[in-house]
């Protein structure tokens, strides 16, 4: 073993100074950490609200103001909403004019949707887990459901207000209703769906055609699953639907969907409706007795069965009536987006310059898509179609030739 010199190493005082400095810094950082944890954003709101309650009511009332993180467990929807940690006045009366987050929630809607059962995010969206403003309101990366607030509403639905935007979430549960009280923009869009005959091509809530895509759960389609290559401006699902409803061919080159020349307000309402068709995880404890299907109305069914007994029977049972009226046989269409078939024999000649026989066997335009995807007719059925159309035209000519009943 070699002989050695025992020393205390490098100057010990340097290490001692380092040790002291580091220790002081570490204590300082730890104190900061504890302070930050002890003084979260929500504590300030809770203190202010307790003061407000004390001034307006009494010390006893102020003592009843809850302290700490508040949470509503919405077991029917598998959610935990902590919004009431700051929004303490939600269920209190007397703070209707206070500033957020300490304002009373409008009482009307809470009577049918009590906050202790429905929570907040089912209607408002946002990140119920978080307890600081920025992340709870959810306008942050990696949170796909930001709060449906006034600013977003103004950007998407100018002038319509926040409640209109929130109708999006109403329709999550109320989707099978014909009319939902308070969700005017959704009701307006639903009327458009009926009037414009969207179901002629699209299946919605289990009913409708197969020419376009099934729209029942269209709202679940992820933003990244849309093709934005032909969309200018902001790339969002809402913007895509807006542009698509305005002019479908501008976004989807080979589509057969026509432009319906809708007003901007109608387009926005429909875009919102399509986006609202999402699967919402709610059970019977929340949905209650809301309808769960959207069947054909009794009047419509009665009308169809009545028409199916008449001379236009074939047009009804085959399904042509969904888009085309056949007036000479008394066949009405619920959504007459196609021409009256009474004069089809003549009309086809004029529009396509081919006889009806050729057109039915080798159709072009919209009917090509219809015969390819929805009404797949065998050659024998097509022959029958040609016979029926000729019969309708003969009846039309007969009615034209017959003396009209004299008017008195």
């Amino acid at each position: 073993m070699a002989r050695v010199t025992l020393t205390s190493g490098e100057p010990g005082w340097r290490d001692r100074v380092w040790l002291a400095v580091l220790a002081v810094l570490l204590v300082a950082v730890t104190v900061f950490l504890v302070y930050r944890e002890a003084m979260p954003e929500w504590r300030e709101h809770q203190q202010r609200f307790r003061g407000d309650v004390q001034r307006r009511f009494s010390d006893r009332a102020a003592a009843a103001v809850p302290a700490g993180i508040q949470q509503i467990c919405v077991s029917g929807a598998g959610r935990a909403d902590r919004c009431t940690t700051c929004h303490l006045a939600t269920a209190w009366r007397g703070f209707e004019r206070a500033d957020e987050p300490l304002r009373t929630h409008p009482a009307g809607i809470l009577r049918s949707h009590p906050v202790d059962r429905f929570g907040c995010t089912l209607c408002h969206s946002g990140q119920g887990w978080a307890v600081d403003r920025e992340r709870a309101h959810g306008h942050v990366p990696d949170w796909p459901e930001p709060l449906l607030d006034a600013a977003t509403a103004e950007r998407l639905l100018p002038g319509a207000g926040r409640a209109a935007l929130m109708a999006l979430n109403c329709n999550g549960c109320h989707r099978y209703e014909a009319v939902t009280a308070g969700a005017e923009i959704i009701n307006r869009a639903r009327r458009l769906v009926e009037d414009k005959g969207c179901r002629a091509c699209h299946r919605i809530n289990g009913r409708g055609g197969l020419i376009g895509p099934d729209l029942t759960w269209a709202g679940d389609k992820h933003p990244e699953q849309y093709d934005y290559s032909r969309l200018t401006g902001r790339r969002s699902v809402f913007a895509w639907h807006e542009a698509h409803l305005q002019d479908p061919r501008a976004l989807v080159a080979d589509t057969v969907m026509p432009s319906f020349h809708l007003a901007p307000g109608d387009i926005r309402a429909l875009a919102l409706l399509v986006m609202s068709w999402r699967r919402v995880n709610v059970d019977a404890s929340l949905v209650g007795t809301l309808p769960r299907t959207e069947p054909q109305s009794a009047e419509e069914r009665a009308l169809v069965s009545e028409m199916a007994k008449g001379p236009g029977r074939w047009f009804v049972t085959t399904g042509c009536y969904q888009c085309h009226p056949v007036s000479v046989f008394g066949v009405k269409s619920p959504t007459p987006i196609g021409p009256d078939l009474s004069t089809a024999v003549d009309d086809v000649e004029r529009r396509f310059s081919v006889p009806i026989e050729t057109f039915i066997r080798t159709p072009s335009g919209t009917m090509k898509a219809v015969f390819a995807r929805q009404f797949m007719l065998s050659p024998a059925q097509k022959d029958e179609a040609i016979r029926q159309l000729h019969a309708a035209y003969a009846e039309y000519q007969r009615q034209q030739a017959a003396p009209k009943p004299a008017k008195r």
């Binding site: 070699a2 050695v4 010990g12 950082v29 887990w129 307890v131 790339r235």
Partner: protein, 396 residues
């Protein structure tokens, strides 16, 4: 030896120093005496000690996370949200755990680089040394560090976790012969789900940490047995030796507190990301591997060749062949290095110029590929830092 005037932490004799060490369990970690060169800041930079401190910090910060984390595909994501938002100091424990894990990968790699550049994996002048085996243990511990970090990656069960692991498992499956079996064994089935989460969780909290703890203990013991920092010359008379108490203990305390401080401050400053909940039906764009695998992913992407309709997948070259070759070469290097023993312990000596240059070139290459990988944006396109990514489409 200075004479004690009043009172001092410095023991009066080597005997007293040894006794102090023997009498105290914690001090047992340290040798009674060590060369003053081993105590110096350079060339070791104390990187090994920093790595060990980070490992301890990871164990400590992992304990509270284990209390609140639920290893279930249904509840994992929600439990992380709770840790992040409502558990007292939860966000800090999570951030500290994450930062320390990233730092441990970085610092242990730097430690390996330092040992290579000083040739410290070889025995110097003294006898009874087995430094080459400690190098092998070190390489194993670096691999263990990466495995620890990687198994932790899946646990939050968010999109980042799910797809990083999906990408990596696809690469693992490209191993010849055993690939698919290895993959199935790791994830416990054909798809990444509950069984994969449970296996990764157990690897993360039980298997790998215990293995690492054993290796750390052996590594430290070996360093002591081999006489501290590697040197080319044999021990001579008159060499300066310091006693562990207080000099070494104090310096270890400085390194520990400094590491702790850095982790704490970074954990406060850098928030921990948590992406959308895992969705097996929706691939994020881009889907990236963890950053320490990005250079491999970059090679995988660049060596994937399309000739007509035939695709030669780069997963085998970049994901299996290259890292395995590197790992084997690294493990065997102490026996391949034929430079004179006298240069052991000297930083980048002229006698080892070629291997040092190759090592630096390789390190620069890996670093460059990592940076390129970090800068990749949607559809694996390259974006400069000042170029904005094509905006991610939103709902509204």
């Amino acid at each position: 030896m200075t004479r004690r005037r009043f009172w001092s932490l410095l023991p009066a004799s080597t005997g007293e120093a040894t006794e102090a060490i023997l009498a105290n369990f914690l001090l047992h970690w340290f040798p009674a005496r060590m060369r003053s060169t081993s105590l110096a800041w350079t060339p070791s930079l104390w990187l090994g000690t920093i790595t060990a401190v980070l490992f301890v910090l990871l164990l400590l910060s992992g304990l509270p996370l284990m209390v609140f984390y639920i290893p279930s595909t249904r509840e994992a994501y929600q439990s992380i949200k709770d840790i992040e938002h409502v558990v007292s100091f939860g966000w800090w424990f999570r951030a500290a755990h994450r930062i320390a894990a990233h730092l441990m990968v970085i610092v242990s790699t730097l430690h390996l680089a330092r040992v290579f550049l000083t040739g410290a994996y070889r025995n110097g002048g003294a006898r009874e040394q087995h430094r080459e085996w400690n190098w092998v243990i070190g390489v194993a511990m670096l691999a263990g560090t990466v495995v620890l970090s990687f198994t932790g990656y899946l646990l939050p069960w968010d999109q980042l976790a799910f797809w990083a692991v999906t990408v990596s498992m696809n690469i693992a499956a490209a191993t010849p012969l055993v690939g698919p079996v290895l993959r199935d064994l790791l994830i416990g089935g054909r798809e990444i789900g509950q069984t994969a989460l449970m296996r990764f969780y157990l690897l993360h909290i039980v298997v790998v940490p215990i293995a690492m703890a054993v290796l750390v203990g052996y590594h430290m013991w070996r360093v002591r047995k081999d006489g501290g920092l590697a040197r080319g010359d044999a021990p001579q008379d008159g060499v300066e030796v310091v006693v562990a108490i207080p000099a070494v203990a104090r310096r270890v305390a400085v390194v520990t507190l400094a590491t702790w401080l850095v982790v704490t401050v970074l954990a406060i400053v850098i928030p921990s990301p948590l992406e959308d909940a895992a969705n097996a039906l929706l691939t994020p764009n881009p889907a990236k591997a963890p950053w320490y695998f990005l250079w491999l992913q970059e090679i995988v992407a660049d060596t994937t060749v399309r000739v007509g309709s035939v695709v030669v997948n780069g997963a085998f070259i970049g994901g299996v062949l290259l890292p395995t070759a590197l790992l084997v070469l690294m493990t065997l290097w102490p026996w391949l290095d034929r430079s004179p023993a006298a240069v052991v312990g000297r930083t980048m000596p002229r006698e080892r110029r070629t291997q040092v240059l190759v090592f630096i070139a390789l390190a620069a290459f890996i670093l460059a590929l990592t940076v390129v990988g970090l800068l990749r944006g949607p559809s694996w396109h390259f974006y400069w830092p000042w170029q904005a990514w094509a905006d991610v489409p939103a709902r509204f």
